[in-house]
Amino acid sequence: MALRRPFTREQRATIVYGMVAFVVIIVVLQLWLLTASMNAFLGGDDSVIWPAAAASVLCLLLNLGLLRYLARMERTRS
């Protein structure tokens, strides 16, 4: 059985930097999705609305997953 040690402060800082980088990319992607689907909606094109909504929900779940990982990391710190 592998020994699970809490991360050090340096490790936690590195991990949170990496996660912030991921989340920034995902949020920018969501902003683009919202802009594009708003433009399509106002132009009467409704073919992209639901796929874009599903993609946005997926992005949010991914972000929430990362946040949950962060919370778990906080709980296991020494």
């Binding site: 340096e10 930097y17 989340v23 902003l31 919202l34 009467g44 949010l60 710190r77 020494s78």
Partner: protein, 212 residues
């Protein structure tokens, strides 16, 4: 400072030239090292003794400070992500509502006799607050569009002599024959009102939303 009970045994014996003798080892030799996670590290990484007095009085751990800042920033970003998703779902609900309403009903909006070539007239379609413009081009063709500019919803003004519709708010210009943007900030064409001429009467039958 708390005294180590062992230091009281023989503090004088650890004198120069007598190191290594029994009882001369430092009293904290076997003490537990401080928890590294609890050691405060200044932003420049130098020990606390080398820091200015104000920092020694109010020490803030640089690593921990960075970590908390990034963690809170990440929480804010996830909140933003939730707001974008909410907006996306709101758009989907609006779309569902628009489809549910279906096509607007056909309605008489003008008579051909009231619109000689080069003239324009306002009307409301499909709702009473949906302002639209019907114009008759110099060659006799009838065109109708919603009056809201596709940039920020200002009312567009027909300039039939120029063959354009002008938005005075941000100098947007649309082609009167097609409704497509020619200049200024608008990127989408004006929604076109489908017309049906029956005898002398002009009927609006539908609203055609367009992206290009």
């Amino acid at each position: 400072m708390a005294q180590d009970p062992r230091s009281a045994i023989d503090p004088q014996i650890n004198t120069p030239g007598r190191e290594g003798l029994t009882g001369t080892a430092p009293v904290n030799l076997y003490a537990r090292p401080p928890n590294r996670e609890q050691v405060t590290i200044a932003p420049d990484g130098k020990p606390m003794e080398m820091q200015p007095p104000w920092r020694r009085d109010f020490p803030i751990d640089a690593l921990q400070d960075q970590y908390v800042e990034r963690r809170d920033f990440m929480k804010f970003l996830v909140l933003t992500s939730g707001a974008f998703t909410t907006g996306q779902l709101w758009l989907a609900v609006q779309n569902w509502w628009r489809r549910r309403r279906g096509r607007p009903e056909t309605r008489r909006i003008a008579s051909v006799a009231e619109l000689p070539p080069g003239e324009a007239q306002l009307f409301a379609y499909p709702g009473e607050h949906d302002a639209c413009i019907v114009a008759r081009l110099p060659d006799g063709e009838l065109v109708a569009y919603r009056q809201k500019c596709t940039h920020l919803s200002c009312a567009v003004i027909p300039r039939i002599e120029d063959g354009t519709l002008h938005c005075p708010c941000h100098e947007g210009v649309f082609d009167l024959r097609t409704g497509r943007p020619l200049a200024g900030p608008p990127r989408r064409p004006l929604p076109r009102i489908a017309l049906d001429v029956r005898g002398d009467d002009v009927f609006a039958t539908d609203v055609e939303w367009r992206t290009s």
